[in-house]
């Protein structure tokens, strides 16, 4: 069974992540997921690739903390966070977040909170590679 929080180059399988959640508890009544993927445009420019960089050890520790906080805060039964750090092309997967709870409200709220917090707290940066050149992305709310 893979770790519930991971940073990896390789793509992930949503089915495998969800299956891992489902075996963790028979009390799960709902699983909310967020899949972040690469767009082929940004601020009016074509984007051919997005390259990610992370402060790996700190990013992983922060993601683990984030998962634990989400479980406590929303009463989740389980949660998973997987972020790729590599170079991706349009349509490729970037990040997967899943929140499992007895009822849907906690699952939705926990999932939304985790992706919002990840963007604020986890030391990962993305660089967009366009036909005009490369540029680091300025964070969006």
């Amino acid at each position: 069974m893979s770790e519930p929080v991971r940073i990896q180059e390789a793509d992930f399988s949503q089915d495998e992540e969800i299956a891992a959640l489902k075996v963790s508890s028979k009390s799960i009544g709902g699983i909310a997921t967020f899949l972040g993927c690469a767009r082929d445009f940004s601020e009016g420019r074509d984007v051919s690739e997005i390259s990610f960089e992370a402060y790996g050890s700190m990013a992983l520790a922060e993601m683990q903390k984030l998962r634990s906080e989400a479980i406590d805060r929303f009463g989740l039964l389980d949660a998973r966070i997987v972020h790729r750090v590599t170079t991706v092309r349009a349509g490729d997967n970037i990040v997967f977040i899943a929140a499992a709870a007895e009822h849907r409200a906690a699952a939705f709220d926990g999932c939304r909170w985790m992706i919002d917090e990840l963007k604020q707290r986890v030391p990962i940066w993305k660089k967009e590679i366009t036909p005009q050149g490369e540029s680091w992305v300025t964070p969006h709310p």
Partner: protein, 79 residues
């Protein structure tokens, strides 16, 4: 020695991902920033987060210890 790490856009400005700074007793985070800032003026204008031993710190008077690891980071843009 103090290990200093740079990531993303900050690494681009400093043109390296890692450097070593000689440790001196009583040294603070501010001392390291001043030392690097002299060599790379403007490098810190985009630094939004600083971590010492992977813990975010806000106080530049934080006293450092030999073998500490400092990271200078721009705003995060993961996800």
């Amino acid at each position: 020695m103090i290990k200093v790490l740079f990531f993303g856009p900050v690494a681009d400005r400093v043109q390296t991902r890692e450097m070593q700074v000689e440790f001196a007793p009583g040294m603070t985070l501010h001392d390291v920033i001043a030392h690097i800032g002299m060599q790379y003026p403007g490098a810190f204008s985009i630094v939004s987060f600083i971590a010492v031993n992977q813990q975010q710190v806000h106080d530049k008077q934080t006293v450092l210890h030999d073998n500490d690891e400092i990271a200078f980071m721009a705003k995060f843009s993961g996800g």
